[in-house]
Symmetry: C2
Subunit: 294 residues, 2 copies
């Protein structure tokens, strides 16, 4: 870390989290707001940085996440797996030379399946750098687009994205099931029944309509619909994700409300897991990148 | 058929089709409009029937479809499989005694998987009654909620619903893929590549995000996104449906734009199919029900 410390922003689509670190890498301030990249007008990022420097001083800024996408400040190329923290440090995109850099995302490319990630790579590689997971580990970051990843020797070697959170939101807001999906999701019998179907049957689009059929025929209480559908989607997600993480415990990183549900699903199918603090992992990744710049 | 003929309405959620038949069962008029059950105010059906009788005369009216649902005129219980046209005729719900009846829907119940259907049962059983399919046949009715069904000895013995059309509409209208899904779906390389993934991988929620990853990495042209996603969903649908129709040709009934795509998907995976005229099948089913009343 530089003597002056740094500021890092986990800058997502709809939200951002801002952390100021001192020269020893300790957090001296943290903020979160709704100024995700889609809330910023085109060309608005330099002005935003000016405001941020007025608050935090003229220090190194390291930005990660969707800020490096085609909806962000500039589009930073994805680094193909395997990717290490050293690779991210070497390939930083300096939007303000020597002062402000964007961390690149990662991709799976080659001749077969392809995938992309922006932001989670810092958390996942940071988890290993901080010793929160071993250098060879399987991770899952639930969310709008859940990410399952495999680390080997501390490098990100493969990952896969599952559109679980986005589909759940679409179904709850706009589908024929919307009226019944008005209760919070809880880990109970309906959720686990959904996990069972979603994980083992691999027939999600039929099971989704089955939710409605079960309600109409009195087999499912309407108030359990959100939990059942969440279970179906998470069960299907876990079935796909475990192809990326075939053995060992799954390290769950991210929003505790979500990691708890994924933990319940993994528990239901008899797979070990542990929950990892996403902020701690993110900051460890950023510190490691900053150290490689020194 | 009675000497005075009858009027039948295939009365769905958002549309209805009205056919007047003469005493010999020939169609003497056909209309379609957007007065589906959700366009009718609560308690509005008797007044609508009054208007229909003013147009068509005081004849027998047989109504099928969502008119018998909890959003329709009255909720008519589903008949559990196996279901025949004779069962439908015996269990008509007479909303205006001797004059207007609603055809019940069908359900799969019992201890395992459950499912429900309203309207397609008349078409499917009618297809067998008219000789459009043999008494033992596998059928698929694509749509918002695609229905796959098995007939044995002219009876509907099992079926399964897949939420394909609804999910496609949600993704095209509201998802992160919406901006790219603005072109019409065509049967081409992108569609068949989607079918291949959807049918064989059984990882739909990952393949949906994969659509975005492929576009970002230059592997899929944005203008092909709608066709690729349609292929994914129809491929997954066919994989589920063929568990209901394990052997023999699949009889595709319904909207020709959809049956053509399902035909292309079945062709891609090497399964025989034929396309059946849905109107002809529906009217054959209604005629057979009317004959059993005589």
């Amino acid at each position: 870390m530089g003597g002056a410390g740094l500021v890092t922003i986990d800058w997502g689509t709809t939200n951002r989290r801002i952390f100021a670190l001192d020269g020893a890498g300790e957090v001296i301030s943290r903020e979160a707001d709704a100024l995700g990249v889609t809330a910023v007008r085109p060309g608005g990022f330099p002005g935003m940085m000016h405001a941020l420097r007025a608050t935090h001083g003229d220090r190194l800024f390291l930005l990660a996440g969707m800020i490096g996408s085609n909806r962000g400040w500039i589009e930073v190329p994805y680094l193909p797996c395997p990717v290490t923290l050293a690779d991210l440090a070497e390939q930083l995109a300096w939007v303000e030379p020597g002062r402000t850099a964007i961390v690149p995302g990662a991709c799976v490319s080659g001749t077969g399946r392809v995938d992309v990630m922006r932001g989670e790579e810092v958390q996942m590689l940071g988890a290993a750098a901080a010793g929160l997971v071993p250098p060879d580990a399987g991770l899952c970051h639930p969310g709008t687009h859940a990410k399952w990843a495999q680390l080997k020797g501390g490098a990100l070697v493969d990952f896969r994205t599952v559109m679980t959170g986005e589909l759940f939101a679409l179904l709850r807001t706009h589908s024929i099931l919307a009226a019944q999906m008005d209760r919070p999701v809880v880990d109970g019998e309906a959720f686990r029944d959904g996990v069972q179907h979603g994980f083992f049957e691999r027939a999600l689009t039929a099971d989704l309509f089955g939710t409605r059929a079960q309600i109409l025929l009195g087999r499912l209480q309407p108030q359990d619909a959100a939990s059942y559908v969440s279970g179906l989607l998470i069960g299907a997600d876990v079935a796909i994700g475990l192809e990326i993480v075939p053995a060992g415990p799954v390290a769950l990183i991210g929003d505790p409300a979500l990691t708890r549900l994924y933990g319940a699903a993994l528990d239901h199918i008899g797979r070990d897991y542990r929950e990892i603090d996403g902020e701690q992992a993110f900051l460890a990744g950023i510190r490691a990148i900053a150290e490689k710049l020194a």
